[in-house]
Symmetry: none
Subunit: 194 residues, 4 copies
């Protein structure tokens, strides 16, 4: 019951955020959406900040679930490829969450990203490193510093998605972006494969 309500509040907050962005995500609006008094929210979340952070964590959780599916692949090569595809899918299907995950402390309205969230971010990066590492071991990628190589791939992915979501590729066209994304990533891989 406690956590039920809490979940419900979080969902409404998510919807408002997804539709109107972070700036419009006020306690009042959330409460109105949920059908409670604004104060009721404080039973479940210490702060607006607290609530927002929970939302970010939710974003990471979802991101993680997308990436995790890549592990179903039976070889390092497949898993590496699927990871790239999962990244792409998350970016397109959960664009708002994608943006939320990559928000600056300032945008989140805090001095510095809380440790809990930093850890989640680090875990995600680690997942990518793992994929690269096992691909190196399997001889699919040239040997090298895994973190460095991961960074190249991550930066490429994030760069592309950022520019796309920012509208720098014109009107949003997911199909088209998929092509671009895959081509670009492949180009990078071409330089990294043996």
């Amino acid at each position: 019951m406690n956590s039920r309500r809490r979940q419900r509040i979080l969902e409404c907050a998510r919807d408002i955020y997804l539709e109107q962005g972070l700036k419009a995500l006020s306690m009042r609006k959330i409460a109105a959406q949920v059908g409670l008094s604004p104060m009721a929210l404080y039973r479940h979340f210490k702060d607006r900040k607290d609530l927002v952070f929970q939302l970010v964590e939710e974003g990471f959780r979802i991101f993680g679930s997308y990436l995790h599916q890549a592990l179903e692949g039976r070889t390092p090569q497949v898993r590496l490829h699927r990871t790239g595809e999962a990244y792409l899918r998350f970016a397109l299907e959960q664009s708002r969450y994608y943006q939320m995950i990559f928000m600056s402390p300032e945008q989140l309205g805090c001095e510095s990203i809380p440790l809990e969230i930093q850890n989640k971010a680090y875990a995600t990066f680690q997942f990518l490193v793992d994929r690269v590492q096992e691909s190196m071991r399997a001889g699919i990628l040239k040997m090298g510093e895994p973190m460095e190589v991961t960074l190249v791939l991550w930066a490429q992915s994030h760069g592309l998605v950022s520019l796309f979501l920012l509208g720098h590729f014109g009107e949003r066209n997911d199909k088209n972006f998929q092509k671009i994304y895959r081509t670009s990533i492949q180009r990078i891989l071409d330089g990294l494969e043996r």
Copy 2:
């Protein structure tokens, strides 16, 4: 005098933005800084949005001036290399402007980026395309679709800078980032050079 005032307002707005970020950039603060009444600003800018847009344009202007210096290089190769370095320098020396240039409409507080700004962004992209194109013609890069190749390079640069400014590389350390940036870009070029 009209435009003198206007310039002065814009400069103050810039300073506040550079120091405290966009959210703290309020008409009141700007006015106080300039030494005018808040209302006086409306003589020069339709509203806050308008003022912010002008600021973004200023950011593009500065970005342009950084990139432009790359043209002093005497060969396509040098110019290509210097472009990458200019991008890096702008990102590190003018981080706030960098962030402003790559803000989403939402963060800027508008439905969609106004055409004027979109054009500036496009112009920047075009400059990069030019560098790639001439490098291809000069045989420094493998032949290919110039826009596509440019995108790969741009995405890489932007991805790296974004992640860096977001703090995903730990405490800000410019020297260290420069190394990472250069290595990563070189890796990409390695895959693109003949």
Copy 3:
């Protein structure tokens, strides 16, 4: 006009304070009383604190005007006596202001009393010291450390008024208190006169 409004706000604030005390003195209530929107007050006062401080200063000003009348007396003895009477009159006629003047920082809602107010308090004390000093010189009071003697008189006055206003003498009865006050002060003076 500016200062006219300001004055009017201060008067309303004073009335609310006088009737309902400091805790009830909210920006909203003041605004409602004045007939303005709550926000209009901020045109004239930086803060609630600012407004309250101004009110305290007003209190000191009034206190000062009461004491000042004692200077009309033609001899040190008369002036000393009238000062005691002025203190008494202020306490009874302006009880709320009396209480406000002797509020702790905590009650005023601030870390420490601002310097401006501290100075006003000091000035008042100095006025009392002056009366004692000239009485000593005139041979009305035994010679001694003027500040120390002043303190005895001030403490006696303040102690009596405090206890009275706190209701420790039963139902408020001004006539009765006047007697008590005069007798007590006289007792003190008896011990101080030559």
Copy 4:
């Protein structure tokens, strides 16, 4: 157990009050400190007022215990002197309680001080009267109306302590205040002794 709990709550409330003052003494904070839900407090106290009143009574109880020790003196003179010293010690060692005991109804958040507390205050006063009376009978003080004389002494003590705790003697300096207190009281006594 009932009264055990109750006692525990009161102690926590006291600690919060002693550390942070009355305004910060909220049901929530007390509950958190005790380790109960805010609502549990209402099982033991009708409302916040009730709880605060109990706290004031506690203050009087402690005050009483300080004064009571003066009775250990073997002569009226010693007892009178020790009473003054006990008053001083209570004021310095239990300043917060001192302030609480001498709070106005308003500060306590009620229309008028409840009878129970008035009685406690009266009892304290009576204790002082007793000391004066026996000193008169013993020929230590000049004969006179005991209540009146007591008032002079009480007012002096309270006045001094009030002004001291309000910070009107500069930075708090207990040693220094002790001197002032003793000198001033002695001055009064000089005028009252035979």
